[in-house]
């Protein structure tokens, strides 16, 4: 009698600085599918994990911001390519997390891949749309261009486990920011698979750091961190008290804040430019003209 083969189960981990550590706290939490069945244990990120991720993101920032826009666009497109390659896995993960049919999950995955391609194309165009020459009243060359603001904390949406995640991460990094992302708490597995895609898509380690865990617990550490430049609190949509507390904490170093909507938006809509420009600075350079 042939022995039936024992399945090798995957350990779901965090993604920090290009590596896949467990939470330093040793904590994990149970992840269930849309019908309430146990699926896996996910790492439960701690305050220390947030701090480690911020250090990794800060370290990666100059190099990533210093890449050519063309190169960042290439890398985002590469993420889309690798996602396409692993499409069945994403469809399964999204269906498991969000429920519904395989076809519905498939549309979410397709939309997420297309979203990355859309943002990839913005890499070397946004400065032309958001920047310009300034005709000042004097003999000066004067020019304004967008620059990344730095390290951006992102609380990813709770419902849309993949399309929502991609829709908040891609606009932040395509312009040269680096990020610390807290995934959906109850639907973290597509995010973990997305991290595995990032790790194999030429995205430098530390550019995207992905933590699975509770946005309400981790958000305050991210919002209060003095080496984080901006925060997107979409992940606490509908919870005005938490969103307000995060915005108050963010004021300690005047983080740029993308406020939480009253409810999670329709992620299939074409994104506004503000998804990118909210995390950009305008730099204006003057130089005299003369012989």
């Amino acid at each position: 009698m042939a022995a039936s083969r024992l399945e090798v189960r995957k350990t779901y981990k965090l993604y920090i600085g290009g590596a896949f550590p467990r939470s330093e706290s040793g904590h994990s939490y149970e992840v269930h599918d849309s019908k309430g069945k146990f699926v896996a244990n996910a790492a439960k990120a701690s305050r220390k994990d947030v701090r480690d991720a911020v250090v990794a993101a800060r370290k990666a920032f100059p190099g990533w911001a210093g890449r050519t826009a063309y190169n960042r666009g290439q890398i985002l497109y590469r993420i889309a390519e690798v996602m396409e390659d692993r499409r069945p896995q994403f469809v399964q993960a999204v269906q498991q997390s969000e429920g519904g049919s395989a076809a519905q999950a498939g549309r979410q995955v397709d939309e997420a891949i297309d979203r990355l391609v859309w943002y990839a194309g913005w890499a070397d165009k946004l400065a032309q749309v958001a920047g310009n020459a300034n005709p000042v009243a004097g003999p000066f060359f004067n020019h304004s261009a967008p620059e990344p603001t730095g390290v951006v904390g992102v609380l990813a949406p709770q419902s849309s486990s993949l399309l929502g995640l991609v829709s908040v991460v891609a606009p932040v990094v395509v312009t040269g920011n680096t990020t610390v992302v807290v995934s959906s708490y109850s639907r973290p597995l597509p995010a973990v698979t997305f991290a595995e895609v990032l790790a194999t898509s030429d995205v430098p380690g530390g550019v995207v750091n992905l933590l699975t865990g509770d946005a309400a617990t981790l958000g305050p550490w991210l919002a209060a961190h003095m080496d984080v430049n901006a925060i997107d609190v979409t992940g606490v949509a509908g919870d005005l008290d938490t969103a307000t507390a995060l915005e108050v904490a963010a004021a300690d170093n005047l983080k740029r804040v993308r406020r939480a909507p009253a409810a999670e938006p329709d992620w299939t809509a074409v994104p506004a430019l503000t998804t990118m420009t909210d995390f950009l600075e305008t730099k204006t350079v003057w130089h005299p003209i003369g012989v």
Binding site: F140, N142, A251, L254, T282, W286
Partner: protein, 487 residues
Amino acid sequence: MVSTGTTTGSPIFDYAPAPESRAIVDIKPSYGLFIDGEFVDGHGHSFKTINPATEETLAEVAEADEADVDRAVKAARRAFRGWSRMPGKERAKYLYRIARIIQERSRELAVLESIDNGKPIKESRDVDVPIMAAHFFYHAGWADKLEYAGLGPNPQPLGVAAQVIPWNFPLLMLAWKIAPALACGNTVVLKPAETTPLTALLFAEICQQADLPPGVVNFVTGAGDTGQTLVSHPDVDKVAFTGSTAVGKAIARSIAGTDKKATLELGGKAANIVFDDAPIDQAIEGIVSGIFFNQGHVCCAGSRLLLQESIAEEAMAKLKRRMSTLRVGDPLDKNTDIGAINSAAQLARIRALAEIGEDEGAERWSPPCELPSSGYWFPPTVFTGVSQAHRIAREEIFGPVLSVLTFRTPAEAVEKANNTPYGLSAGVWTDKGSRILFMADKLRAGVVWANTFNKFDPASPFGGYKESGYGREGGRQGLAGYLKAGA
């Protein structure tokens, strides 16, 4: 009362006094608030505004209380309906009209600005008021072209803007705030600084003269409490603040969880970096205007001078010689380079930080300089031997005090320049084009002046990185602070 000597104190030139007449301004003994197109009495107390060059009381000004602020916001709300629906080309003509009146009354505005603020007449006359007029001209032209602002078709105004401005450029900051707000179809309640309310009230007369619809622009005078009441008023849609980083943070906290949009223009500690190949005489002029323009009461002042080590000695000698020719004294004298410190409180802060600079071991130098006996004065001052840890290298002094550090390599200059929580402006002086672009790329600051400093223009966006605030004022980017995408 003026310093005209070389470093040894012997005069190069004697200047005859050249005072601008103050007869052109008519300062009333007391002023009320400007609400719904009319001057009205406040419900609260009043406060005195003084001439910082003489300490004479200029006028009593109403201190707006909560009821006054509410009345002003209600007036702005009522006016919003008509103003926002008015065709852009009609709004534009009001702004053009205001700009022209500013030009016509420029001398009056400049003299009153120098009297209430203490800044030299040559600056109020040649910088503040002309650029103020330019801001209204520039934004007037935007009013009927907002679909090209970059927010998509049919962008919409936000509503009522609560604007709080500082005392260092009372008229210019007023223009930076009001011109874009109005062009985009918003209405305004603005609080001028408590030490410099008079020119805003003169501008209120200009609004009347231009037949601006009542309630489109309202002024509430007062101190911090009035400002706090204004920005936290529940019917305000937009907060625009220029001032200290501490107050900016408090405002950011107070509007958390609301739908209010904010533009914050806060403090700075700009590096002015001079490389060994810089055109040195131009650089010295840039250093001087960078820190001594407007008594150093400038958020983007070049208050940290970074000299490349190989030219530090030569540059310091030239800088000291140039500082010795700066004339400190009567703001209304056309020869004056450095006027009065705006208030006793600010003078005390500058003195305290300068003493801390000495206590921490930096070397202090000022040219021989006789200061007037009354009024608030501080001589142009430079500290050498400053380290990055010194408080005079980290904190905004907001006065005519320059801290000098040195560096060896471009990388070290970048490192030191960016070693601050601020990020408003920076200066670079070098003859090498590729190095200018390298430095401009690496400096984390909203405005980089290369081979120039302290240049402002309504077409040029201004605003900071990091704790210097967020949002931009001026240029196409500045419109984003007063518009939202159309439905």
